[in-house]
């Protein structure tokens, strides 16, 4: 009898262990281990060290451009998203035009357009970073508008009706009832678009902004070591996007707490 009981306990303990193993994010463990390995071998190689120390300035600019563009795109996207669900024909038409036209044009074309057409017109053509931010936020604003629209439309109609039946105006019901729920619901896609924008910020290398990709091009041209330089570039991008993805997951987790 005693033997049977300890067998049961042993099995239980094993089951508990395997349950623990199931909750481990294995992809992350592998990526972190591989990343540490790659970083270690890079740091023990002088050519990689040189490349990385040169590229690190580009990381700062990449992050700056991405963060600023994303914040502006959030504002643009929210306004356009609200326009897309508006029953006002004029507002709705303008918002739809913006979304459909911008989504149909490659981001690279928008960036070139911003720098060589719009910037001279505004007199800012000596600041390519400004052009880049302008183009990225304008382009991503259209994507985010659709995310916001989908979020707003995903809120049950009864919520708006309940708010309106209490005498709240359209604006009040949007602000206090619909948007807070919609934004919580679209946090994951918003986060994904931030990761996507960080990668697409490499496109502004086309207008001579010395962000990560552009510095990679310069360094590769100088050292003729395309392989190692772009390994380093890819490594740095991957580090940035992985940190962001983890942040997005965390946001997802805390925003789903207390939800029905």
């Amino acid at each position: 009898m005693a033997g049977t009981r300890s067998d049961v306990q042993l099995t239980r303990r094993r089951m508990a262990w395997s349950r623990h193993l199931d909750t481990v994010p294995w992809w992350l463990v592998i990526v972190l281990a591989a990343g540490a390995l790659v970083l270690f071998s890079m740091l023990s190689n002088e050519r990689y060290v040189n490349a990385l120390s040169y590229l690190i300035r580009g990381v700062r600019l990449t992050v700056f451009i991405s963060v600023v563009s994303y914040l502006v795109a959030l504002v643009l996207g929210l306004i356009a998203g609200l326009g897309r669900v508006s029953r006002n024909k004029l507002i709705n038409t303008i918002a739809t035009l913006y979304v459909e036209v911008v989504r149909g044009v490659p981001l690279l074309v928008i960036i070139i357009y911003a720098h060589y057409v719009v910037a001279p017109f505004l007199g800012t053509n000596r600041q390519p970073v400004f052009s880049g931010i302008m183009a990225l936020s304008f382009g991503y604003g259209a994507y985010l508008a659709e995310v916001f629209r989908a979020g707003i439309e995903s809120i049950e109609r009864g919520q708006g009706e309940a708010a309106r039946s209490l005498g709240m105006s359209y604006r009040q019901s949007m602000r206090y009832i619909i948007l807070p729920q919609a934004i919580r619901r679209v946090l994951p896609p918003l986060g994904n678009d931030f990761v996507a924008m960080l990668k697409d910020s490499s496109l502004v290398s086309a207008i001579a902004i010395s962000e990560l990709t552009k510095l990679g091009q310069i360094e590769a041209a100088r050292t003729f070591d395309t392989f190692r330089t772009y390994n380093a570039v890819a490594f740095l991008y991957l580090t940035l996007t992985l940190i962001l993805s983890l942040g997005v997951r965390y946001l997802e987790r805390i925003s789903s707490v207390g939800r029905r």
Binding site: R164, S165, Q181
Partner: protein
Amino acid sequence: MDGDEIITIEHVSKQYGKLRALDDVSLGVRRGEVMMIIGPSGSGKSTLLRCINHLEVPDSGHVVVDGVEVNEERGNINAVRAEVGMVFQRFELFPHLSVLDNICLAQQQVRQRSRRESEAVAKDLLDKVGIPEKITAYPAQLSGGQQQRVAIARALAMQPKVMLFDEPTSALDPEMIKEVLDVMVDLAAEGMTMVVVSHEMGFARNAAHRVVFMADGKIVEQGPPEDLFGAPQHERTKLFLSRILH
């Protein structure tokens, strides 16, 4: 309940594609009256109720609430709605707000009450519906019956002149129906004007002054509950009652 008419519905029609949801309906509700609307599904009873606070816009006809024409320009619609409380089948509490905030939000935003004043009103009403201990809870933490009682408190916080109930117990488990009906019966006893779309016969017998039977977008017959249930005049009514009373 011998007051003047607080809700006047005149020749209201509403069409959804080919379906005639409301067909030239006229109906008056007196101040203090408790009216129940019954009828088979698709008879237009919910549509009629929703026309009263303009959640549905009639194709033709007039709806007047407390002297204000509801059908016209948008300017007055929020003012009318603030005077007409509504309780929904699926509660429609705001899931991102606590019970307290659910009850306070419209008081502050629409009635311009201070936070303290709104909280005092909310506490009184939660006592009244019997769940004062749930004040800091979130809707997802409440049972269906509790959610519906909070929804009633939320509507009452606006101090409405009329309360509309759109099948308030249809989404509830049987053992929770009574707690909601008790609150409604109390409300009726206090003299609140109520229009209730529901098939709860208990409520009809205990609280309703008049029962209206609708079918196919029309009012077939109406009268005091004892007459309508005891001696229905129309075949359509008899058939319906025989089905729901078993």
